[in-house]
């Protein structure tokens, strides 16, 4: 989300100091609005914020007695240093990519869909429900497409709830989409502990395994599954849609200037609904991909927060499908690297999310610099002290 800093007390002139005393000019820093956002700055911000996050994380590591260089090297090695590492990174790229694309298209229209996590869960629930209870005996060629479609639909419905509230009632979608994450998560818990629990599962929470026809094919001996192809295809389709179609054009115009969209007769309400449905649907495919590609059953804690990380992916990728592909891969590497640390160095895996959070923090902070700049000002003598008007003379 673009955080527009308000010009608060710090950038206004200070209160009038000692009455009657003329000040000598003192240089101060002031925040000024740029007339046009700097393109150079906006290209630089993602790179610099990642670097700053790594430096900041380095200090945290130093404080906890670790050698930052060694830790970073171990992470890099764990994520990209071996075939297995790269494969695991690709596995985690899949949900980040799909959910990141979903978040990205919504953000393009300035719809702040924070609900990818919940939409992911709903996609997983709808898809596994279909495979378990509706078409358990269908062949793979029928079942896989139907299951993916159900996953999309599940996420789309979950995205449409905040979408409709926004389009028809003007309810802020940030809050509704965020809160629905908890509903989705708890609904999934309810199913895996209750109605859908596998009777043969020795009491563990989780559904029965999906029929084998529903399992997404994997690449060789790795865990990289067909979901990667879905993600790349979705990125390619979105790229074309955003650049080459009337609808993509409407999204761009509406996102930049809703009044202009209305003036041009664009169907704003319909577009809000469509975009939220597609956004949620993509996260939903991410969810069913996790189920059908990895665990083969709906279980607790399906996602370690992919839907939230997707927000960072979308923003860091500048809401551009190509950028999102690259960033999803890099942030997946960060996650895998973090897991590796736990194993190889005995460090908490929380280092990865800490770095992620720090990256987003610097990214949003840096965003301000594309719109504002710091300038040194010399302060002229302060105005004379107040005197009530009516009492003069």
């Amino acid at each position: 989300m673009p955080m527009v800093p308000r010009c608060g007390r710090s950038c206004r002139s200070q209160a009038v100091d000692d009455p009657g005393v003329t000040h000598t000019p003192t240089p101060r820093l002031r925040i000024e609005r740029r007339i046009a956002p700097s393109r150079f700055a906006s290209a630089l911000v993602p790179v610099v914020s990642v670097l700053m996050a790594l430096i900041f994380g380095g200090f945290v590591l130093l404080l906890s007695g670790e050698d930052p260089i060694a830790v970073y090297r171990a992470m890099l090695d764990g994520a990209f240093g071996s075939e297995n590492g790269i494969a695991e990174t690709l596995v985690k790229t899949i949900p980040l990519l799909l959910a990141g694309l979903g978040v990205g298209i919504a953000f393009r229209m300035q719809l702040w869909n924070i609900g990818a996590e919940g939409q992911l869960y709903l996609g997983a629930i709808a898809g596994s429900g279909l495979a378990l209870f509706v078409l358990p005996d269908a062949p793979a060629l029928v079942l896989v497409p139907a299951m993916v479609a159900a996953g999309f639909a599940g996420g789309a419905v979950w995205g449409l709830i905040p979408g409709m509230l926004r389009a028809f009632l003007g309810v802020n979608e940030v809050i509704t989409s965020l809160l629905l994450n908890y509903v989705a998560f708890l609904f999934s818990d309810y199913l895996v502990y209750g109605r859908w629990r596998d009777p043969a599962g020795f009491g563990f929470p989780g559904t029965a395994p999906l029929p084998e026809a529903a399992w997404l094919p994997r690449w060789g001996t790795t865990r990289v599954h067909l979901g990667l192809a879905f993600g790349l295809a979705a990125a390619a389709i979105l790229w074309v849609v955003l650049r080459r179609t009337r609808w993509g054009y409407e999204i761009a115009v509406t996102g930049e200037n809703e009044r202009a969209a209305r003036y041009a007769g664009m169907p704003t309400v319909r577009n809000i609904l469509l975009v939220m449905a597609v956004s949620g649907g993509l996260a939903g495919i991410a969810g069913i991909g996790e189920v059908a590609g990895l665990g083969h059953q709906l279980q607790r804690n399906l996602s370690p927060g992919y839907g939230y990380t997707a927000i960072i992916v979308a923003w860091l990728g500048r809401l551009n499908p190509v950028g999102i592909v690259l960033v999803a891969f890099l942030l997946a590497g960060l996650l895998v690297g973090g897991d590796q640390l736990q194993m190889s160095m005995g460090l908490p895996a929380a280092i990865a999310p800490m770095l992620q959070g720090t990256i987003l923090f610097f990214l949003l902070g840096g965003e301000a610099l594309t719109r504002y700049r710091l300038v040194r000002v010399r302060r002229p003598a302060v105005a004379a002290p107040p005197r009530p008007v009516g009492e003069v003379g």
Binding site: A15, R246, E256, A384
Partner: protein
């Protein structure tokens, strides 16, 4: 500095104040003075520089040159906070209140604590005391969103008084009020002046000004014309001062007037009514006809229904009553898209806010009107190559100066933005063009190009409704001029024989003698003056 025998010291004194915005001089070497204990009205057309001048006093802008004294002391305000510390506060047209806060919380907002704890009870007490003293009753515990517009304005005033303001500037305060609320405000202003406060009242409604002011300063084109005593002046001369003395010679326009007469009507409005953003009536029954090959100018002081008129015709605002006919087809309250397809082009008032998308490139802006249709699109796809050719043609034909199609719109000058907008709107060979302030904020070169384009289009049969604040522009371009005041057509005059004085009076809501008599009857529904038989 002050003469000790002067009974009313100068609350505000400005000498030689100049303020430019880019190349536009908003205030040109202005001298202005207002006393404590008076209501001082500042009148002028929109763009005359009134609000800019007072924003300097309120610390919002800094003058490029010139001096400002408040209560006899030279000051240089760096922010509204400095100004309020010197007892100067301004009530803007858009209130600066936090809706979800109470009145008392709003009053406390932005105050320097100076180490004191906030004491809501004391603040509430103070607000009640101030309210009683000036007759500005507000409940300090009410939340702002619960209050009517008039009450919110009272909160603004009370808040400034609470913070020690002795000079209060009002920027067109009655524009947002109902007539009853406006009358109440006028009483309040008189009361505050009687208590020794200095009240500056920015307005362009002459009746109101003559009723409330002790002195009136008129501004035109960034300069002060005169400061006068309302007792010594009538509305007619005040209007003349505001609009300008020069009479437009009737024979400088080179165009023929006759052909339009025979043409059939393209736009017909029948008793059109619509409400403004605040829900108050903005159009009170408009009857108008614009014919093919004719430019009908709408003159009037801003805020008298111009924007609502344009929006009601183009489908961006719903009409509450009446009809909009395009080429004889009833298109009242059809969606904007259907109206555009029927051949209505629209150059909106606020080109960057409505008509263009400043963050996108030139090409994206050029196709905003026609992106759905061949040759720019086929099915769901945009056709890149024909778009590029289309945009190139527009840029060349309408002389838009840009580094290329991929240039961001916001990097273009205002004039080139407007040329691109006009080019786009005219590219679909429309039947009717609704152009609102087409040359506002545009440099001279682009203004000439735009005027030339409008004349060319008229020659080729386009019907144009030209809404402009610039009376010179209207008289120069239009065949007929309809004067709009408070949502009504006050009269329609032939531009060739129009008398600027007459138009100025109509703009101020004053007809000739008999019209004034009728005005007194309250029966102003029909056009009051019709100098020519326009349609």
């Amino acid at each position: 500095m002050n003469d000790e025998t002067d009974p009313a010291p100068l609350a505000i004194e400005m000498t030689g104040v100049t303020k430019r915005f880019g190349g536009v001089v908003a205030n040109d070497n202005v001298d202005f003075a207002a006393r404590a204990g008076e209501v001082h009205a500042l009148v002028g057309e929109n763009g005359a520089g009134k609000s800019t001048l007072m924003s300097i006093v309120a610390g919002l802008y800094r003058p490029d040159s010139g001096r400002l004294s408040v209560a006899g002391q030279a000051v240089q305000f760096r922010s509204p906070r400095d100004a309020i510390a010197h007892g100067v506060g301004m009530v803007y047209q858009h209130f600066m209140l936090v809706d979800s806060f109470t009145v008392a919380e709003n009053a406390m907002l932005g105050q320097d604590g100076q180490g004191r704890r906030l004491d809501p009870a004391a603040v509430e007490r103070d607000l009640r005391r101030i309210g009683d003293r000036y007759g500005l009753r507000v409940d300090p515990r009410a939340r702002v969103w619960q209050l009517s517009v008039g009450e919110q304005q009272r909160v603004e005033i009370v808040r400034l008084l609470y913070r020690g303001a002795r000079i209060l500037i009002f920027d067109e305060p009655t524009a947002v009020l109902t007539p009853q609320e406006a009358a109440e405000l006028v009483r309040t202003l008189r009361g505050m002046a009687a208590e020794g406060l200095c009240i500056v009242f920015i307005s362009h409604k002459l009746d109101e000004v003559l009723a409330v002011a002790d002195r009136i300063t008129t501004m035109r084109r960034g300069r002060v014309v005169a400061t006068v005593d309302p007792v010594a002046i009538d509305r007619r001369s005040l209007a003349r001062m505001m609009i300008g003395r020069e009479l437009q010679p009737a024979d400088v326009r080179g165009h023929l007037l006759t052909p339009a007469r025979a043409e059939r009507p393209v736009l017909e409005l029948r008793a059109l009514r619509a409400t403004g953003d605040r829900g108050l009536p903005a159009l009170a029954g408009i009857d108008l006809t614009v014919r093919a090959g004719e430019i009908l100018g709408i003159a009037g002081v801003a805020g008298n229904g111009q924007r609502e008129l344009a929006e009601a015709i183009t489908g961006l605002r719903s009409a509450t009553n009446g009809q909009v006919l395009i080429d004889g087809r009833d298109l009242t309250n059809r969606p904007a898209r259907a109206i555009a397809r029927a051949g209505v082009a629209h150059v909106p008032e606020d080109r960057l806010g409505t008509g263009l998308v400043s963050g996108l490139d030139v090409a994206a802006n050029a196709i905003l009107r026609d992106y759905r249709r061949p040759p720019l699109a086929r099915g769901p796809f945009l056709l890149g190559r024909s778009i590029a050719a289309f945009v190139d043609r527009l840029i060349a034909r309408y002389d838009v100066k840009t580094s290329g199609q991929a240039a961001r719109l916001r990097d273009l000058s205002g004039g080139n933005q407007q040329k691109l907008l006009l080019a786009r709107e005219l590219s679909g060979r429309p039947r009717l063009l609704v152009a609102v302030h087409p040359t506002r904020g545009v440099d001279i070169g682009a203004t000439e190009t735009i005027h030339r384009l409008l004349r060319e289009q008229r020659a080729s049969g386009l019907a144009t409704l030209l809404i402009s604040e610039d009376l010179d522009e209207v008289l120069d371009l239009a065949d007929r001029v309809a004067v709009l005041c408070e949502g009504r057509i006050m009269g329609i005059v032939d531009a060739a024989t129009a008398d600027r004085d007459e138009i100025g009076l109509l703009m101020a809501g004053i007809g000739n003698g008999s019209a004034e008599a009728r005005h007194a009857d309250g029966s102003t529904m029909r056009p009051v003056v019709s100098v020519t038989s326009g349609g």
